[in-house]
């Protein structure tokens, strides 16, 4: 009987050994397949039960996103700053996906990246919780809030702001309006918000492209300077510029007569820029200069998706009828405040475009610095001398163009306005600028969608100019030269109602030097009214007009392309 007992024991023992083998199969051999199986919800459950890292604003104190225990072991994401930072921070939802920094820095925030500290390594071994790393952004929380509020109060309430530190490439503000509350999005509000007609989920600062209008003239000017045009070179403006099939004019049909190149930028004279682009620069050089400044580049190292700016047709296909309007940012040229802010930054930084950055540092949950990117140049867009010259020309735009709304007491400001014709309605109001011009600390680009409302006298409003001025003054903490323009927006329908446009001497006593320019415009609003009037932009077969663009659609990600 004992023989049989032993045999059955061996049978049982074999059974147990087989079970250990089965366990080894599941836990070692087949582990990865099972973990990644689509029916396996454990990983997403784990991500819900692991607190994500904090997101801080640039002051290192303002919390933009935190995880809070929501009953049981699950955490929910809280966004204390709500709409103001939504386009930057984004949202993190198990049901509706993720956006912004939440997805762009997910490896850091979720702690699912490779372990980087001894603690994390030990945690991974012991199966302890792998809390996410904390991410600190470069965004100045006060400037961001101010930018958001200014956009909210603008005449159309749709627009975007991008502000950079020209010397480091740090993003100081990246605002869009209308925005959404990420706390609502992740709490079942996604569908409703995504169906709103104003498209608040769209980041107008990076995802949308608009015709840049006359702000593009700084790129044309850069190409012209490189092509040998000097600021003092004189050009004749008879009010129109003729190309085969096209006739371009200045805003409201003005003619400026004999002007210098510098004055042409100050008064934003379309015909002179068209002449220079066609006769002195040519399509290839103009397109090359735009690429040097980042047109067509996707900024893939930037944690947010940036819709690349575009010139439309390739330069070898440009007819004179294309080159002329492209020189003043019309035709099919599209860009956004992110790109145009970097253009201003590059000019401010003596021609060197810095790598734009949004993340200042990444720390582990116990405070160890894991990553702190240093400023590095992305591209030398312009030689230093040319950049300085262009800088001075842009200072002239603000000073001699008497853009009081953008001026700062005791500080030189460089800038360029734009009033961009578009098929969606009233022109977009643009302004790009940087200050202090001799030692730039901030570069700002503002667009107010359809904000260039044209009044009865044909003059357009300039809300972007006012916003940019207010932001620069707020950031530098310096007052306006005139009684401070506390009225950030213009009442809709009041033509040119902003203080910046009022040339009443009594209102600007602090203006250090405003000598009357030879050939100064009779119409004080002329500097901003520089887009080609629509009726002069005739269509022609093979060259569809701007109305066929859809700037409000998110631009599909095109092929990878360097800036130069």
């Amino acid at each position: 009987m004992n023989t049989q007992l032993r045999r059955t024991f061996y049978l049982f023992a074999a059974g147990f050994v087989a079970l250990v083998g089965v366990m080894a199969y599941w836990q070692v051999y087949a582990r990865e397949d099972l973990t990644n199986h689509p029916s396996n919800g454990l990983q997403s459950q784990r991500s819900q039960e692991t607190p994500r890292g904090l997101i801080f604003a640039g002051d290192g104190e303002t919390v933009l996103a935190r995880s809070e225990r929501a009953g049981g072991n699950e955490y929910e994401r809280i966004y204390p700053e709500g709409e103001v930072f939504a386009n930057v921070v984004g949202y993190w939802s198990n049901r509706f996906g993720a956006s912004g920094i939440e997805i762009g820095q997910n490896n850091n925030l979720s702690g699912t990246g490779e372990p980087e500290t001894l603690d994390e390594l030990l945690n991974q071994f012991s199966g302890g919780p792998e809390t996410g790393n904390n991410v600190t952004l470069t965004v100045d929380p006060e400037l961001q809030r101010e930018a958001y509020n200014q956009l909210a109060q603008s005449n159309t309430g749709r627009g975007a702001v991008a502000a950079f530190d020209p010397q480091t490439g740090e993003t100081l503000a990246l605002a869009t309006y209308p925005s959404y509350d990420p706390n609502v999005v992740i709490d079942e509000g996604f569908e409703e918000i995504s169906n709103e007609p104003n498209n608040p989920l769209l980041n107008r600062a990076t995802q949308v492209t608009y015709p840049p209008g006359s702000t593009f003239k700084v790129i044309t000017a850069a190409a012209a300077l490189e092509a040998g045009v000097r600021p003092t070179d004189r050009f004749n403006d008879d009010g129109t510029y003729e190309t085969p099939g096209y006739s371009f004019g200045n805003y409201r049909g003005k003619a400026y007569g004999n002007v210098t190149f510098a004055e042409a930028l100050v008064f934003s004279i379309n015909t002179v820029f068209a002449q220079i682009a066609v006769d002195r620069v040519g399509p290839e050089k103009l397109a090359a200069m735009a690429r040097e400044f980042g047109f067509g580049y996707e900024y893939e190292d930037y944690p947010l998706y940036v819709a690349p700016s575009d010139l439309g047709l390739p330069p070898e296909e440009w007819a004179e009828g294309n080159t002329a309007p492209i020189s003043f940012g019309q035709d099919r040229v599209v860009s956004n405040v992110f790109e145009m802010g970097l253009v201003a930054s590059a000019i401010a930084n003596d021609g060197d475009m810095m790598q734009p950055r949004l993340v200042r540092e990444v720390r582990s949950s116990d405070g160890i610095i894991l990553d702190r990117p240093t400023p590095r140049p992305l591209n030398e867009a312009l030689p230093e001398g040319t950049a300085r010259t262009l800088n001075e020309m842009m200072q002239g735009v603000v000073e001699e163009g008497e853009l009081v709304a953008a001026q700062i007491q005791g500080t030189k400001v460089a800038g360029k306005t734009g009033t961009a014709e578009n098929p969606q309605g009233e022109p977009h109001s643009w302004f790009i600028s940087f200050a202090p011009a001799d030692d730039p600390e901030i570069a700002v680009a503002v667009v107010v969608e359809n904000g260039g409302v044209i009044g009865e006298d044909g003059a357009a409003e300039t809300p972007a100019l006012t916003i940019a001025g207010n932001l620069m003054r707020a950031y530098l903490d310096r007052p306006a030269p005139a009684p401070p323009s506390t009225q950030p927006n213009l009442p809709a329908g009041v033509p040119g109602g902003g203080p910046g446009e009022v040339l009443d001497p009594a209102q600007r006593p602090a203006q250090p030097s405003a000598p009357d320019q030879p050939g100064a415009p009779v119409d004080p609003f002329a500097p901003f009214r520089n887009a080609a009037p629509q009726q002069q932009q005739q269509s022609q077969p093979g060259q569809p007009p701007a109305s066929q663009q859809q700037p409000l659609q998110p631009v599909p990600r095109p092929q990878d392309e360097g800036p130069g």
Binding site: M1, N2, T3, Q4, L5, R6, T8, F9, F12, A13, G15, F16, A18, L19, V20, V22, M23, A24, W26, Q27, V28, A30, R31, L34, T35, H37, S39, N40, G41, L42, Q45, R46, G72, N73, F125, S126, G127, G128, P129
Partner: protein, 436 residues
Amino acid sequence: MTQRATIPMAIALLITTLGFATLIFVQEAKSPPLIYGAYYAGTMVALYLGVRLWLPHADALLLAVVTLLTGVGLVMIYRLTYDVSGRENLATTQAGWILVGTAALVLTALLFKNYHRLFNYKYLLAAVAVGLIASTIFFGYEVNGAQLWLKVGPVNFQPSEFARIALIIFFAGYLADTRDLLAATSRTILGVQVPALKYFGPVAFVWAASLGLLVFEKDLGSSLLFFAVPLLMLYVATGRIAYVILGALLFAAGSLTTYYLFDHVQVRVQTWLDPWSDPNGTGYQVLQSLFSIADGGITGTGLGEGFSQAIPEVQTDFIFSAVASELGLLGSTALLLAFLVFVYRGIKISLLAADDASKLLAFGLTSMFAIQTLIIVGGVTKAIPLTGITLPFVSYGGSSVVGNFILTGLLLVVSENAGRRAAEEATPEFVEGEAA
């Protein structure tokens, strides 16, 4: 027999304490009333000391293994249910059942120290066993598709857990009486020697009756147990492998029949063969089990860090998956080894027992314990089709815990008998230690 197991006992209690400490201090689980922990530890220590006094030659190592298994079970049940509303008290209930089980073990040891008396009532026990199983048909109620439960006053219990033990006593007593007659048969049918119906009849009858009832009640796991254990006992009693082969053929035929007769058997088999075809329906439970097991890897997620709460019935049938998930391959292998130690001690008791009935009793109880473990662990790991039975001592469940304590009690009295005999046969200097 190993008469002293103080250190293994201490280790088992230490592991249990460590488990609870991890849950309470690391996972910040709400502490269960500490008095239950004191009850538990006190009960097990008192049981150990009592057995050492009352059954000085018994195999005390069994108690250390039981302490380890019930302790791991308590930790896991607590971990899986402390934050589940409506189930917060399962761990303390289980501690109560362990107390009841301990009492049952003590009663068994007190009443049946001379367990040979039991064999005199073997037919009565067989009748009681069949009656217990049959009772659920008339008085029982259904849980999860199987009608296995009886309600007696406030207590629900599964009669088949106790019927098993009664049946094993019957088979042990009967087979010990008739083993020579069953073995010494000369008739053959189709070349297979078959025993005389006169002697085999009672075995076949009880066997068929219990099996038939269980199949009727859709209790597949118990059916498998009730089939395999008597078959192995028959093999051990007669030494004839032909019985095992014949039994296996019968089993195959029976399985095929039930497969075609019962939908729920078909579903079970289909689920086993291809759980992926219906991952959110019939395959859900076993797939969640596999996901949890795989999630554990070699070292496990750590106690309290796994997600095995997603498995339905995790605290009963699937508790092994939770152990594998949180303690990993290392932990689950260690747990399997603890079961194997119990089986090893059981077989050892059977080997050392003096008479055939004792040997068969110890073997029957041990093999039931072993096969039950193999069936459920095999089931949750998809090695074999899943059948709903408990993991002895670890799973939540009063009947199962009490039944297994009674089983342990019987093994202890058999080992006391064998140990005493070995001690008497040994030289006078021989006092304790291995008597192998």
